[in-house]
C-alpha cells in the first residue's frame, strides 16, 4: 500500500510540477541502477523489459531463454522459463510488456503472445494472427501490437485480452515499401495516440488511435536504408530507428539506428507535434528504449549483459 501511495504521489508530482521543468531544451541521463554487469551473469542477452507499479523490473533473456523478475534494488527475485516450445518455454524471447499485474511476452517465431502474472506464472497464449514486431500493453487491459506484413503491409493491431481484434490499420502509406520496409516500433501517449518509428525508413509518424496520420517526419536526411540480396530477396540491412518511447510529459524519445551519427546511441527528443527539441546520446549502444510510469529510462549496456536505469534530467 505504501508503494502504491508513493507511486501515486510521484506521478502527481510529475504531472503537476513536472511540465514546468520539462521543457526538453536539453536532456541528460543520471544512472540510478545497473542490473547485471561484465562479471555478473544475472543477465546474458536481455531483450525485452517492463516494470510494475511497485518498481519491480521484468526482463526477457535470450541466452538462457528466461523471464526474470528483479526488485526495485536490482536483486533477482525470480526466474522462469527454459528453452522449448511448451507452455512457459521460449525459443527466442524478444518483447515484453506489462499492465497491472499482467506481463505479456513474445517468442520471435511464434504467432501469439504469452501471458504471465507478476509472479512469472505462465497463464496462457493469446492468439495473434502474425508475428509481433513491437508490443505495448494498454492500461485498460488491451494490447497493441505491430505485426509483420508479408506480403501484405505491416499492421498495427489493437486486441482485447482474449486476442480478439478490436481495430487495425496498415503501418505504411507507401505502396512500394518493399519487404520488411514497413517494420516499426511504436509507443502511445496518454491520449492513446500512436508514435511510430520505422526500422528501415527515415520516418517517424504520429497517428490517431484509428490510424489517421497526424504527422510524418524525417530526421536522418536519408530516405531509406541500404539493402542486400539474400536468396533473391532484397532486404534492408541498415536500421534508421530502433525504438520509440513516450515520457511522462508527452515527449517522444526516438532511438536512432545504424544511420545515426552515433549508431544505436543517439536519441531524438520530439514534442507531440513532431518538432525536434533536442538530441542526446546514450552511454552505450542499445537495441531498445523503455520509459516506465515514474519516468525512468531503461537501456542496454555491455552488449546485453547489463540493464541500466536512468533518471531523465530536463534543462
Amino acid at each position: 500500500m505504501n508503494i502504491r501511495r508513493s507511486t501515486a504521489f510521484a506521478l502527481f508530482v510529475l504531472a503537476v510540477l513536472g511540465p514546468a521543468r520539462a521543457g526538453a531544451g536539453k536532456v541528460s541521463l543520471e544512472e540510478v541502477l545497473a542490473i547485471g554487469g561484465l562479471r555478473d551473469a544475472a543477465l546474458l542477452q536481455w531483450t525485452g523489459v517492463t516494470t510494475d507499479a511497485a518498481g519491480n523490473i521484468y526482463v526477457l533473456d535470450a541466452l538462457d531463454f528466461s523471464l526474470k523478475k528483479f526488485g526495485p534494488d536490482g536483486r533477482l527475485l525470480k526466474k522462469a522459463g527454459r528453452k522449448g516450445q511448451g507452455p512457459g518455454e521460449f525459443m527466442a524471447p524478444r518483447l515484453l510488456a506489462g499492465s497491472g499485474s499482467r506481463l505479456y511476452a513474445t517468442d520471435q517465431n511464434v504467432f501469439g503472445i504469452y501471458e504471465y502474472d507478476s509472479d512469472l506464472r505462465f497463464l496462457r497464449t493469446i492468439p495473434c494472427p502474425a508475428l509481433v514486431l513491437a508490443l505495448r500493453a494498454l492500461p485498460d487491459g488491451k494490447l497493441a501490437a505491430a505485426v509483420v506484413g508479408m506480403p501484405s503491409p505491416a499492421k498495427l493491431l489493437v486486441m482485447d485480452g482474449q486476442g480478439r481484434l478490436l481495430s487495425e490499420f496498415p503501418l505504411s502509406d507507401s505502396r512500394d515499401a518493399g519487404l520488411l520496409m514497413d517494420s516499426a516500433g511504436f509507443d502511445l501517449d496518454a491520449q492513446g495516440q500512436f508514435y511510430i518509428a520505422y526500422l528501415f525508413r527515415d520516418r517517424v509518424e504520429k497517428r490517431t488511435r484509428d490510424g489517421r496520420l497526424v504527422w510524418g517526419k524525417s530526421f536522418l536526411g536519408r530516405k531509406t536504408a541500404a539493402t542486400t540480396s539474400v536468396q533473391n530477396l532484397l532486404l534492408p540491412k541498415e536500421t534508421c530507428f530502433k525504438d520509440v518511447a513516450v515520457d511522462a510529459f508527452g515527449h517522444v524519445f526516438v532511438l536512432g539506428g545504424k544511420l545515426s551519427k552515433n549508431p544505436s546511441r543517439d536519441v531524438y527528443v520530439l514534442n507531440a507535434e513532431g518538432v525536434l527539441l533536442t538530441t542526446f546520446t546514450l552511454p552505450e549502444p542499445s537495441h531498445c528504449l523503455y520509459i516506465d510510469g515514474r519516468n525512468f529510462l531503461y537501456a542496454r549496456a555491455d552488449e546485453g549483459l547489463t540493464l541500466k536505469k536512468y533518471r531523465i534530467l530536463y534543462d
Binding site: 561484465l38 551473469a41 541466452l63 538462457d64 531463454f65 528466461s66 517465431n109 555491455d302 546485453g304 549483459l305
Partner: protein
Amino acid sequence: MIELRAARGAARRSMRAALLFAAALALAPVRSACDARGAPFPGGGERSSCWILVDMDTFFCGSCLEHLLAFSRAVPARIQEERVRGILVFGGSGNPEEAKRRVQVIRTKWQGFSRANDIRFTAAVDADKAFAGLVKAGIGVLVFDARAGEVRRYPLPVPRGGLEEILRVLVD
C-alpha cells in the same frame, strides 16, 4: 575458460596455429599423426578432437544458437568434456581497451549460456584473433582426425551425414 595466447599473427597463419593448439588440447600423449614418409599411422594412441569456432559477433541470431545447441545435444556429454573445445572468435576495432572489454563480455556470456543450456565443452576466447580468418560468420567445426592425420572442416548446421562422421572420429 582457457584464454588463447599461443597463436599470434595474421590470418594466413591461422591453420598452423590451429594445428598446434589441437595438439595441445589432445588429452592423451601426442605424437605425429604421420610416419616419416607422410603416411598416416593406422592408429595407436592419438585421440581425435573437435573444435567449434563460434563467431560471437553473429552468435546471437536465433538460428546460430539453435544450430550450436542442436550440435551439443547430439554429442554425448563425456565426448564433449574430453574431446570438444570451443573457440570464441570476435571482431571489432584494434583498440586494446575495447578488445579487453569484449573478451570479458564474451567470457561472461558464454559461461552463462553454457551453464543454462548444459553445454559440457569448455571454450576459450580468441583474445589475439588468431582464428578470425577461419570463421567469417556463423559457426564452424574443425575435426582433428588423429587416425587419418587430417583436419576436416564442417559448417553448422552440419550437412547430412556429417554429424555421424564427426562422432565416428571422436569416438574412435
